[in-house]
């Protein structure tokens, strides 16, 4: 099934090209936002709330204002020009939007809310003065748990909204016309001795993207356009949102994302910090910088996941699913970020996974609590959904005494059923779940490990072996604009690119997606090289700057290749079409007699030809153009996908659980994925490894914790445990390939697959190890204490029952 066969050996697409971007990064020749120093620049320090819910009764800034080096101190009341922070997704008519001002006015709603800002001539001076700002709070009751927040007597996060319910949103197969009535199907199953109904409540832990580069912002108001540098994934979106909400117009603002040290959705935001740096720079008419500390990042940058999932699955005793009902409670935190309210509903399209489900319903209740807002993090809604369905598939297998692979096989979409219209209203274009699964089972030695597991169970080995399975698909490549429109999303999903043909034969690709580690400069050069026959080395990428790349929708939702890449290919093909008449003119041939192959026009049946660089030079000289031809070969293209991208795969985890200590060790991890045609297999591997590690982090190590009174107790990297090198194994990966049918290259997305598939694979594995001991559930992360306690509880229950 590989597709390289139909491409020449010399093609760039398909090669593991080493990355163009490495050299600068390896030698420290980098441009992180915090590196920027501008003449006369002042530094900000923010005063943040130490309490989770309070009325601000007074702020005394006198001492801070008089401190050495201080240029100014402002509270929310001192900045009447500040505008409320934007949201970009009005998920439903009943959506309640609390006001989030860059600087709090009157109240604070979570630890880390910003109550004052100090500007000083040095960072140290600003920090020192910030410590002198004296804020008095009248503390109020807090609510930290999303289920408790729904109770009638719960404290309200925003009393003026009259409820903690932010929004509700639902979909079902009857309304969609894709299937039967879920309640009816479940009732029928309950009455049917040949069916089972399984009800489970699962929990998604609260986690955080934990990019290694803290967010940093510099604003320089001393030129015609105000320039903002920000460690952001979304310079274009940020510019629009700031212009819509703060006292600057879009045409007066330029946003640059220079080198950005990771994002993973965490830098897909319009932040109060960005607004504040802008506001103070406009006030002072001086360049201003703010770089957060890690603690501030944990207290203020958005978190993710944090859901309660109440799931009901009905199936016949042969394993075929008859209905699936999903009832979610999703924790928004105290405010809404740009996509906060919509993230859970992305999962609504994915809870059916790779399976044929005849009746389906999804209902989500978004809830406010006194925590940091949640929003996008690698996968955004899909990891939650995949966790839900894949945990339930294992529950079903256990209930029916079937092998977990077998129960999946009996339900998944067969290769000959594509394109497949799902019960959630999407159309999966291609896939072959058997192929990926069979390859994964073989790589993993599934049968061998099952035999070892049986032996260890038999011998009561204190270290038990568990095998975790996850077969998944995910919705990626955001997004068809019309679909976004139907969901009340505040923007389109297209992407733009332009190609600039330089007279010396070199090429600049200006792309609207902006990289922060994905290898765009390399992969995009491979695409363009194949289209235009220009050597890989002669192509450079320009991105991340609203002035040099005026149109773009930026980077998130695994869209850079499947949407952005298609815009680049489209622009390159326009270059070829523009070149053709000039080539014909120069070759004194009819345009229709020209054959084009990777950069060369040849007159059919002859060896007379012109290359793209020759034509680029002729165009630039413009000495001999056909009458009426514009002297420009540059081209642009906007690509709007007709469908999402659906990468899939099978993940298998071998976990060892020490039943005496509760320690979980990930012994082996195999994943075989179908991400369509590979542009750069090395970069694909890197994306998979990184995504897996984050998924394993969610499953085994990471958790944002708050105390009952709203204190963040995992506010540093000492308490929030991101996996380090010894915590993860060597991954064994492979790919199978089915062509995407929704783009010309047959490529699919890859960036979010690991975070989507790994958590259920790990948790299913841990439970598989522990079920013989009577353990039936374990929440993420599977820490030793939690696992040990679950074993003790199961043992005492067993003891009590006997």
């Amino acid at each position: 099934m590989t597709t390289t066969a139909d491409r020449p050996d010399t093609a760039e697409v398909g090669q593991s090209r080493l990355r163009k971007e490495d050299r600068r990064l390896l030698t420290g020749r980098t441009r992180w936002t915090d590196n920027l120093e501008l003449p006369g620049m002042v530094h900000l320090a923010l005063v943040r709330s130490p309490v989770a819910n309070a009325t601000i009764t007074g702020i005394d800034t006198t001492e801070a204002a008089a401190a050495p080096g201080v240029v100014g101190v402002w509270t929310g009341e001192d900045l009447p020009e500040q505008g409320a922070m934007p949201i970009a997704w009005t998920v439903s008519d009943n959506l309640k939007v609390p006001s989030l001002m860059p600087l709090a006015v009157g109240t604070v709603k979570h630890v880390g809310d910003v109550v004052a800002v100090v500007a000083a001539t040095s960072k140290d001076a600003a920090d020192d003065a910030a410590g002198m700002v004296d804020v008095s709070y009248d503390e109020l009751l807090v609510v930290m748990d999303p289920i408790a927040a729904l109770e009638a007597d719960s404290p309200l996060v925003h009393p003026e909204l009259g409820t903690n319910v932010c929004a509700t949103w639902g979909m079902d197969s009857v309304a969609l016309g894709t299937g039967g009535d879920v309640e009816e199907a479940i009732r029928a199953a309950e009455a049917d001795p040949d069916q089972v109904v399984i009800r489970r409540t699962l929990r998604q832990n609260r986690i955080t993207p934990a990019f290694v580069e803290p967010r940093s912002i510099v604003v320089d108001p001393t030129a015609e356009q105000v320039t903002m540098w920000s460690a952001t994934q979304v310079p274009h979106i940020l510019r629009i949102l700031l212009a819509m909400t703060q006292p600057v117009d879009e045409h007066e603002l330029r946003v640059i994302a220079p080198d950005v040290g990771g994002g993973f959705g965490g830098k897909l935001q319009a932040t109060r910090e960005e607004a504040l740096v802008l506001l103070i720079a406009l006030r002072l008419q001086l360049p201003v910088k703010y770089t957060e500390t890690r603690m501030e990042s944990m207290q203020s940058a958005h978190h993710a996941r944090d859901q309660v999932q109440r799931l009901t699955l009905a199936a016949r005793k042969d394993g075929t699913i008859t209905a699936f009902d999903v009832d979610l409670v999703a924790d928004m935190g105290a405010y809404l970020g740009i996509l906060t309210a919509g993230i859970p509903l992305l999962g609504g399209f994915m809870f059916n996974g790779i399976y044929k489900i005849p009746a389906y319903r999804f209902f989500c209740t978004d809830v406010f609590t006194n925590k940091v807002m949640t929003d996008a993090y690698r996968g955004a809604g899909k990891p939650e959904a995949t966790f839900g369905i894949e945990r339930m598939m294992d529950e079903l297998a256990v209930e029916l005494g079937l092998d977990p692979i077998e129960v999946r096989r009996r339900n998944w979409i067969n290769p000959d059923e594509f394109p497949y219209a799902t019960v959630a209203g999407l159309t999966y274009d291609s896939g072959n779940y058997d192929q990926a699964t069979d390859r994964a089972l073989e790589l993993f030695d599934y049968d061998g490990l099952r035999a070892e597991q049986a032996r260890r169970r038999e011998s009561n080995d204190p270290v038990q072996l568990g095998i975790g399975v996850c077969t998944f698909v995910e919705l990626s490549g955001l997004a068809p604009s019309r679909v976004l429109g139907s969901l009340n999303y505040g923007s389109g999903g297209w992407e733009h690119a332009s190609i600039r043909m330089l007279p010396t034969g070199k090429v600049e690709v200006a792309a609207g997606t902006t990289p922060h580690g994905q290898g765009h400069a390399t992969a995009f050069a491979q695409l363009v090289s194949d289209e235009l026959g220009i050597p890989f080395e002669d192509i450079t990428l320009i991105s991340g700057d609203t002035a040099t790349v005026p149109r773009g929708m930026d980077t998130y939702g695994s869209r850079s290749l499947v949407v952005g890449g298609m815009a680049i290919v489209g622009a390159a093909r326009r270059v070829v079409e523009k070149a053709r008449p000039l080539a014909a003119h120069l070759l004194e041939a009819d345009p229709n007699d020209l054959e084009y192959d990777r950069g060369t026009f040849t007159v059919r049946g002859t060896d007379t030809s012109k290359t793209i660089p020759e034509i680029a030079l002729a165009m630039w000289l413009a000495h001999d153009l056909p009458d009426g031809m514009e002297a420009c070969l540059d081209s642009e293209s906007t690509f709007d996908p007709e469908n999402f991208s659906y990468p899939t795969g099978t993940h298998l985890a071998a976990v060892e659980v020490d039943t005496e200590t509760g320690k979980v060790t990930l012994r082996d991890y195999v994943c075989v994925q179908d991400v369509g045609v590979l542009v750069n297999p090395m970069i694909v591997d890197g994306q998979v490894h990184g995504g897996l590690t984050q998924g394993i982090g969610q499953a085994m190590y990471e958790e944002i914790r708050y105390s009952e009174d709203g204190q963040l107790t995992s506010g540093s990297l000492a308490d929030y445990l991101v996996p380090h090198a010894p915590d993860v194994p060597r991954y064994r990966t492979d790919t199978t390939v089915t062509h995407a049918t929704t783009n010309t290259l047959g490529v699919k997305a890859v960036g979010e697959t690991g975070t989507t598939a790994a958590p259920p694979a790990i948790v299913n594995g841990v439970l598989d190890a522990l079920r013989p001991l009577g353990v039936t559930d374990i929440t993420m992360p599977t820490t030793p204490l939690k696992v040990w306690s679950a074993i003790q509880a199961a043992r005492s229950e067993k003891g009590g029952a006997s």
Partner: protein
């Protein structure tokens, strides 16, 4: 303010620092060595790792005044003046040991020190040796492969007991 002298990437430098100034801030803000970066406030990420008198340290947990009179090597001094990459840099490039590159300066400097202490580490030893450095992008596999490959390349060209491993590649010993 205290005046300190130190040799940074083979150049003698002086700086006026406050007693509380951390080495990483002196490097970044006073000496222009912005290749070395900060990722945390609790010495957990390792992004700020440099060599202090040949040993890797997290430069956020050393006071600038403590480095007075010392030699500091940062990522910016790792390649040769003619641009030839150090074997560890070359290996990171060839084995996709970096994505966003933010952890990379620290990873490289830690790896240089690790390989000077243990020129032929096992994979397990590499993983444990790099434990203090966090990467959120790569899942460590490319990094581990790169360190193993650099170990191979360096022992091939210099012999396993090269004493000053911080020396740039290709400098005749």
């Amino acid at each position: 303010m205290v005046s300190i002298r130190l040799t940074v990437d083979n150049v003698e430098r002086t700086a006026e620092v406050e007693p509380r100034t951390l080495l990483v801030h002196a490097l970044r803000e006073q000496l222009g060595k912005v290749g070395t970066v900060v990722g945390c406030d609790t010495s957990n990420c390792g992004a700020c790792t440099v060599l202090l008198d040949g040993e890797s340290v997290k430069s956020c947990s050393v006071l600038a005044v403590q480095a007075d009179g010392s030699t500091v090597d940062t990522v910016q001094g790792l390649a040769q003046p003619d641009g030839t990459l150090h074997p560890i840099q070359q290996a990171f490039h060839e084995h996709h040991g970096l994505q966003c590159g933010y952890c990379t300066p620290g990873m490289l400097m830690r790896a240089v020190c690790l390989l000077s202490e243990n020129p032929t580490p096992t994979e397990e030893e590499v993983r444990h040796g790099m434990e203090g450095n966090m990467c959120r992008c790569t899942g460590y596999q490319g990094i581990v492969d790169a360190v193993m490959a650099a170990s191979q390349a360096m022992s091939d060209s210099y012999g396993a007991n090269q004493s000053s491993i911080a020396e740039p590649a290709g400098v005749a010993s």
